[in-house]
């Protein structure tokens, strides 16, 4: 699947297109193969997202998983600071990243 | 032809369109010349006494060769109009002015309030660039 990502213009937070708007959680990402360019152009113009692009991902039973390690690190947070990731209480979260 | 949006001179603008550097060498009566991106400003130095307008082209925000071209012309004593043309953006205006540009013809017109802020941004400057402003070190040791 193709999912859309970028950073929130003001906060800089990593965000994923969930079909209606932008979510902090990659599991909310939806397949946007069809209208990617259109959505990104519109959302950039509305300043909802900054530096957006398309990412290859796979729908797994556990959730949406970007194919490249860089995007998986973006989705969770720095692997060396679990306390600063999106799931600080879940030490196993890192297992799907690396 | 793109409009000159800002001009800091009192003399009458040159009416003729600027010619390329190549054409300028052949047309001995031309008074206006355009330096395209990357062209050497020093080729114009033998002709400064007959030039009244030099346009310097900026292809994009990131190409800063035109700044050096402007200073080279001013340092050689050129006192005619020096116009920045092409992709000229509001946040460059003050720096362009410091390098010797005194007219501006951006491809896309700039917001006049933002432009005025940019021209008047810096109360003082650290460097001597030949634009007539006294640098901070000169004021310190006035």
């Amino acid at each position: 699947m193709k999912i859309l990502t970028g950073n929130d213009l003001k906060s800089g937070a990593v965000i994923w297109w969930d079909g209606q708007g932008w979510s902090l959680h990659v599991d909310d990402a939806v397949d946007a193969s069809e209208h990617a360019d259109e959505i990104l152009a519109r959302e950039e113009a509305a300043r909802h997202v900054n530096s957006s692009y398309v990412v290859d991902a796979t729908q797994t039973p556990e959730g949406v998983r970007p194919n490249h390690i860089k995007e998986r690190i973006r989705a969770l947070g720095p692997t060396v600071r679990p306390d600063l990731t999106l799931k600080p209480a879940d030490p196993s979260a890192i297992n799907w990243v690396i | 032809m793109v409009e000159t949006q800002f001009r800091f001179r009192d003399d009458e603008p040159v009416g003729d369109p600027a010619v390329t550097v190549d054409a300028f060498g052949e047309q001995t009566n031309a008074a206006a010349v355009r330096l395209e991106t990357g062209e050497d400003a020093r080729v114009l130095l033998p002709f400064l006494d007959r030039i009244r307008l030099v346009e310097v082209e900026f292809p994009g925000f990131m190409d800063g060769r035109g700044y050096s071209a402007a200073r080279i012309l001013r340092e050689a004593g050129y006192d005619g109009e020096l116009r920045a043309i092409g992709s000229v953006f509001v946040d460059q205006l003050g720096h362009l002015r410091r390098c010797g540009f005194d007219s501006f013809a951006p491809n896309t017109p700039l917001d006049p309030v933002d432009a005025e802020n940019a021209f008047n941004r810096w109360p003082d400057v650290y460097q001597a660039t030949g634009d007539g402003r006294q640098p901070i070190w000169a004021k310190r040791h006035g």
Partner: protein
């Protein structure tokens, strides 16, 4: 330390307002990202993997206690409680919000700090010797010259859109502690045969994907022509540096392609012209700056005695202190490389503690080193044990300076959007693996970069590690034989790369070759240079 006058303060304050205005226009939509990007970069603001990142300048690596304290406060107020000291003597914050960035700059301006030109294709923060003003071996303090260059390079209107970034280092010792010849311009303050002070200019060094050691282009530029000569070097670069390929745009490529002699000839020609233009500040300006860097009031009666009966303290003194020019004083270095830690990171509390300790024990002054450590430049020997105890209580007493645990590492793929592989976990594993062998291995500089841009200086490591992306999997190449000192050399790749665990094993094999072949007091680097790559390759791949 240098203190701003009303002019300097106005420049920084004006910059804050300019950036506030630019940020407002970006958020409101009248300034497109394409044009905002170079502007925010010239204020040190990147968009990184997880958020915006702000890089704050620490000019020539020197900080007062009040400035250091502010860096700690910013980490708490605007970030997530920590900062990362970089290989160019700066600090960066990883979790910044765009709309708060102007407020951070305003807070910095209150303590005479800024983020001006810490990124972008312009002249970057001027770096220098971290022991300037304290080292025994220096000719004079290089920092007044760095400050003169800082002012000249700040908002220089001709050089804000260079072909690529531009880094200048200034030193005044024969022992190069700033990797001077790996800069775009390296300036060494020297004395000529007539006893006059001047500047030797080395131009066209750098790391990145095409590492080069800068050649000497002028052995002696008089002090009252320093700015004019620098301007000539920059103008030739701005006019002729390549703009068609960003990987070939650094000045090292220009000097290499044009040839050192032709580049020098053009600089000399431009220099002769610029000498007629009156752009050089008067010597009186340098004389105004110099007294700010005068020695603090050292106590001439300070004793050289040191009680080394505490063995942990004794190891720290041996590894982490450096001889001072004043009797009874010492330079003390805080390693930001605890075993298993993240190289260069410090918590807000640690930063504030170091600020307080500098006030109490180091004449209100600190330094940041390009090896990502913190220096107390002027510590009275009689205070050293107390200082060490206080550092120890805050987990800041790791005794591994210049040893295998004192790893330089870039943020890598954990934080950086350019990285191909993670650097920090490799650093952590190596520092854990070798924690007990530190003393046996002696001086061994290990440097890790997470991509070819070489922010982790892997080319200049006795052992260097380069992370690459091999079909979506992190892979690490090993280099041996680099150095950044007076004996600058570039490392050589051993062969095929390794996995994350494989690279740690490979480093161990390399150090075993060293230990088996070491003669006398040889360092790893010396042994490598004597016996060559073959035995290492044999052990690693054989």
């Amino acid at each position: 330390m240098y203190k701003y006058d009303s002019y300097d303060q106005a420049m920084v304050d004006t910059r804050v307002e300019e950036f506030r205005d630019q940020t407002r226009r970006r958020i409101e939509g009248t300034l497109a990202e394409e044009n905002f990007r170079p502007l925010r970069l010239q204020n040190g603001l990147y968009l990184q993997l997880h958020a915006y990142m702000l890089r704050v300048a620490v000019p020539y690596g020197t900080l007062s206690s009040a400035q250091m304290r502010m860096l700690g406060d910013i980490a708490d107020k605007y970030d997530r409680g920590y900062g990362h000291f970089t290989t160019r003597q700066n600090i960066q914050y990883n979790w910044i919000k765009l709309d708060e960035a102007p407020d951070i700059l305003a807070d910095l301006a209150k303590v005479e700090m800024h983020a001006i030109q810490t990124s972008g294709n312009c002249i970057r923060n001027i770096s220098s010797d971290q022991y300037a003003g304290a080292a025994k071996d220096e000719l004079i303090d290089p920092r007044p010259y760095a400050e003169l260059l800082r002012q000249w390079s700040s908002f220089h209107p001709e050089f804000l859109h260079l072909p690529r970034k531009f880094k200048i280092a200034v030193i005044a010792s024969k022992t190069d502690r700033a990797a001077m010849r790996l800069h775009d311009i390296g300036i060494e303050i020297v004395k000529n045969d007539a006893g006059e002070i001047g500047c030797a200019f080395y131009v066209g060094g750098g790391m990145g994907r095409t590492p080069m050691i800068a050649p000497l282009i002028n052995p002696f530029v008089p002090l009252d022509q320093l700015i004019t000569y620098s301007e000539a070097c920059l103008r030739v670069y701005n006019r002729y540096g390549r703009r068609d390929n960003k990987y070939k745009a650094r000045i090292k490529i220009l000097v290499h392609e044009m040839g050192k002699d032709e580049y020098t000839r053009q600089v000399e020609e431009e220099f002769a012209h610029l000498l007629t233009q009156g752009i050089e500040p008067p010597i009186a300006e340098l004389e105004r700056i110099i007294p700010y860097f005068a020695d603090p009031a050292f106590d001439a009666a300070a004793s050289d005695d040191l009680d080394l009966s505490d063995p942990d303290f004794a190891v720290w003194v041996k590894n982490n202190t450096v001889a001072h020019k004043a009797k009874g004083y010492v330079i003390a270095v805080v390693s930001l490389k605890p075993v298993g830690g993240i190289p260069g990171d410090a918590s807000a509390d640690q930063i504030r503690l170091m600020a307080d300790l500098a006030k109490d024990y180091s004449f209100d002054e600190l330094r940041v080193t390009h090896a990502q450590n913190i220096v107390f430049p002027h510590v009275r020997k009689s205070d050293l044990y107390t200082l060490w105890q206080k550092l120890d209580a805050a987990d800041l007493s790791t005794a591994n300076l210049d040893g295998i645990g004192d790893i330089i590492a870039c943020p890598g793929l954990d934080y950086c959007s350019l990285a191909n592989a993670r650097s920090i976990p490799v650093a952590q594993k190596i520092s854990e693996r070798f924690a007990g062998k530190q003393e046996e291995l002696g001086e061994l500089k290990l440097k890790i970069s997470g991509c070819i841009n070489a922010c982790g200086h892997h080319h200049a490591g006795h052992i260097g590690i380069l992370g690459v992306d091999r079909k979506g999997v992190e892979n690490y190449q090993l280099l041996l034989g680099g150095s950044e000192g007076a004996d600058t050399s570039l490392g050589t790749i051993t062969g095929p790369g390794f996995s994350e665990d494989g690279i740690v094993d490979a480093v161990e094999k390399a150090t075993n070759v060293y230990l088996a072949n070491k003669e006398g007091e040889e360092r790893f680097l010396d042994t490598y240079r004597r016996i060559g790559m073959a035995p290492f390759k044999e052990a690693i791949y054989g």
